[in-house]
Point group: C2
Chain length 328, copies 2
DNA sequence: CTGAAAGCGCTTACAG
DNA sequence: CTGAAAGCGCTTACAG
C-alpha cells in the first residue's frame, strides 16, 4: 500500500510551499500561472488529490448533505433520491445516506450520527425531527429541510399542496359520475395523509356528499390489501370509486379488486392514486393519479440547503388522467 | 449560531485533559469510571459530540463507503441500496451515494470525488472501473467491489451465478413444454447479460434446441418494448416463450404482449424474467423469474469491504415460479 | 504572488 | 489511569 501523497510532497517536487499547492487547488486563489503549472504537473505525476476531510476541518464545510429516508419500497423515494443526488452533484455536494427503517423511533440517533460527520445540511424525506434536535441543528447552523412532510410548523419544509391534490382527486371522481366514494388512508400520523384526506372531504362536502367508506392502509402493502377487503366485503353496498392515499398502496388495492374480488376497474370501481410513480404508467395499471412535481420539490430543497432560499414552499400537484377512472 | 463545542471545552468543564475526553469516546481505551462519568456529564451538558472528520484525519478511517450506482429505475438497485445501508449501519459505516447516470462515461471523475472523501471502500453496483483507477484504489488500500457485474477479471466482485440462472430459466420453459424460445437481451456490454444468455443457450443446446428469436432491449424500457414488437411481429411464427434478461424489461414486454398485441400470458406466450424485484409478485404480473439472493450478495460485499473476506463470490440464484410460465 | 506560522478538532505513543 | 506533546493534511491571515 503506497504512502498517501500529501500537499507537502507536491510542494517539495514542485519546489514551492504547501501554501502555494493549496492555492492551486483553491478556486479563486491568487497564484501565478508558472507556479500553477509546476504544481499541477507535480500533482499529476504523484497522483495527488487534496484530502477533502482535512479541508473540511479548516473550512467548516464538508460538502456533504445527510439524507434520511424511511423506506425505499415506495418508488417515490428512489426517484427523489435520484433527483436529489443529481441536483446536489451540480453544486459539488454529495449525499450521505441514512435509512431510518423504524422511522421516528431511532431518528434522533441517526441524525446525531449524520451531524457527527459535519454535514452541511440535512434532508428528511417523509420523516419528522423532534424539536430538541431541530433546535440543535439550528444552533450549529445546519439547515434541515423536511421533504414530503410538514409537521413541525417551525422548520423548513417542502411539500406538495396535498390538500389541493385531495380536492383534485375527488373532483375528478365526481366529474366521472362517481358518488359512492371511499378513501383508503395512509399513516394518519403523516401530514401528507391528513392534508390529502382533508382535501378529499372538502371536495365531497362541496358536492353535497360525504365519504362513503374509509379504511386505513398505513402506506403499507398488506394493510392496504386488508383495507380493500374490508371496504368491499359487502357486495351490495360497495363504493363505486376509491381515492387511495398513494400509488404504492393503489397498485395493491387494484390487485385485490381485480384478482381477488373479481371486480373490473374502472367499470365497477374507479381508482385514483397519489404521486405518479413510474409504475402508474404501466399498461397493467394505467393508474389515474395526482402527480407530485418531484423536480420542483427537489430543486427548492437544494436551494434551501444552499441557503439561497430561506422559506418553505408548497408545490402545486397535477392530475394525470389514465384509464382507472373512466366514466361509469 | 452557537460556537461549536470541542473536546477542549469538555475537558475544561470536567477538569481533565483532552486526552481523557478522547479516551472516553474511544471504545476500549482505558479510563477510570470516575473520569468517564465526569466527562460524560460535561459532554452531555455542553451537547458535545466528537467530530468524526477530525478523527478520520488521525485514524485514516472515515467510516464511509462510497456507492456508485448507474440508475435507480430498476427496483433491483433501490433494494440493494437499502440492504447495503442496513448491513453497513450495523458496522457503524455510512454510505456516500453517487449516481453515475451516464454510467461508464464519467465514472473516473465520480470515483475520484469519492476517493477525495477518503472513503474506506467503494462498491460499484452494475458499473465497472477502468484499470487505471482500479490500480490506484489498490495502491491506496481502498477495497473496491463490483456488485452485480464482474468484468474486470482482476478485482473483487460479487455476482449471482448468472449462467446458472440462464440455464434454470430455459430449463423451466422447456419443462413447461415450450419449444420456440426467444430471448430479449439486456445491454450486451454487461457481464450479467452475457452470462445469462450463455446459460440459456447451453440449456437449449442440451435439449437439442436453438434460440428461436433474439432481440436486444438494453435493460431499457422503450427498447424492451420495441424489441418485443419486433420479435412478435410475425403472428404465424412467433415464439411460445421468451426469456427476458431482467424483470424490469419483462414488465414492459408483458405489457406489450397483452395490451398491444392482444396475446395472453402464459397461454400464448410464457415469460420469465430475472431478479425477482418486488413488482414481480404483483397480481397484475405474477412474473416467474430467477431470484438473485440480494441478502447474500450484500452480506458478502460488506465482508469484503470490512476486509474479513478477501475473495470474490458467485451467489446461487433460484427459480421463483409464478403464473407467467404456465404449461401450454 | 509567495512562504512561514498558526491552527482546524481530534488521537496516540510516551512518560509518569 | 492520566496529561503534555506531537501530529493527521490542509487552509488562511499575515508579512513580505
Amino acid at each position: 500500500m503506497a504512502d498517501k501523497v500529501t500537499s507537502q510532497d507536491v510542494a517539495a517536487r514542485a519546489g514551492v510551499s504547501r501554501s502555494a499547492v493549496s492555492r492551486v487547488f483553491t478556486p479563486g486563489a491568487s497564484v501565478s500561472d508558472a507556479t500553477a503549472k509546476k504544481v499541477r504537473l507535480a500533482a499529476e505525476q504523484l497522483g495527488y488529490r487534496p484530502n477533502v476531510l482535512a479541508r473540511s476541518l479548516l473550512t467548516g464545510r464538508s460538502r456533504m448533505v445527510g439524507l434520511v429516508v424511511g423506506y425505499l419500497d415506495n418508488h417515490f423515494y428512489p426517484g427523489l433520491l435520484e433527483q436529489l443526488c443529481q441536483v446536489l452533484d451540480t453544486e459539488g455536494v454529495n449525499v450521505l445516506m441514512f435509512l431510518a427503517e423504524d422511522a421516528e423511533a431511532n431518528l434522533d440517533q441517526v441524525v446525531n450520527d449524520l451531524l457527527d460527520y459535519q454535514v452541511d445540511g440535512l434532508v428528511l424525506a417523509s420523516v419528522t425531527l423532534g424539536s430538541t434536535l431541530a433546535t440543535r441543528c439550528e444552533a450549529i447552523g445546519v439547515p434541515v429541510v423536511e421533504l414530503n412532510r410538514s409537521d413541525g410548523g417551525q422548520g423548513l419544509h417542502v411539500v406538495s399542496d396535498n390538500e389541493m391534490g385531495g380536492v383534485m382527486a375527488v373532483e375528478h371522481l365526481i366529474a366521472q359520475g362517481r358518488r359512492r366514494i371511499g378513501h383508503i388512508a395512509g399513516w394518519e400520523g403523516a401530514s401528507t395523509q391528513r392534508a390529502r384526506e382533508a382535501g378529499a372531504l372538502s371536495a365531497l362536502r362541496k358536492a353535497g356528499l360525504g365519504l362513503y367508506a374509509r379504511e386505513v392502509g398505513n402506506f403499507d402493502k398488506e394493510q392496504a390489501r386488508d383495507a380493500t377487503r374490508r371496504m368491499f366485503n359487502d357486495a351490495e353496498a360497495r363504493p363505486d370509486a376509491v381515492f387511495v392515499a398513494n400509488d404504492f398502496m393503489a397498485f395493491h388495492v387494484i390487485d385485490v379488486l381485480r384478482y381477488e374480488l373479481g371486480l373490473t376497474v374502472p367499470k365497477d370501481v374507479a381508482v385514483i392514486g397519489f404521486d405518479d410513480v413510474p409504475t402508474a404508467a404501466f399498461a397493467a395499471y394505467e393508474l389515474t393519479t395526482i402527480r407530485q412535481d418531484l423536480d420542483a420539490m427537489v430543486r427548492h430543497t437544494a436551494e434551501l440547503l444552499m441557503g439561497r432560499e430561506t422559506s418553505s414552499r408548497m408545490i402545486t400537484p397535477s392530475l394525470v388522467v389514465r384509464s382507472t377512472c373512466g366514466a361509469t
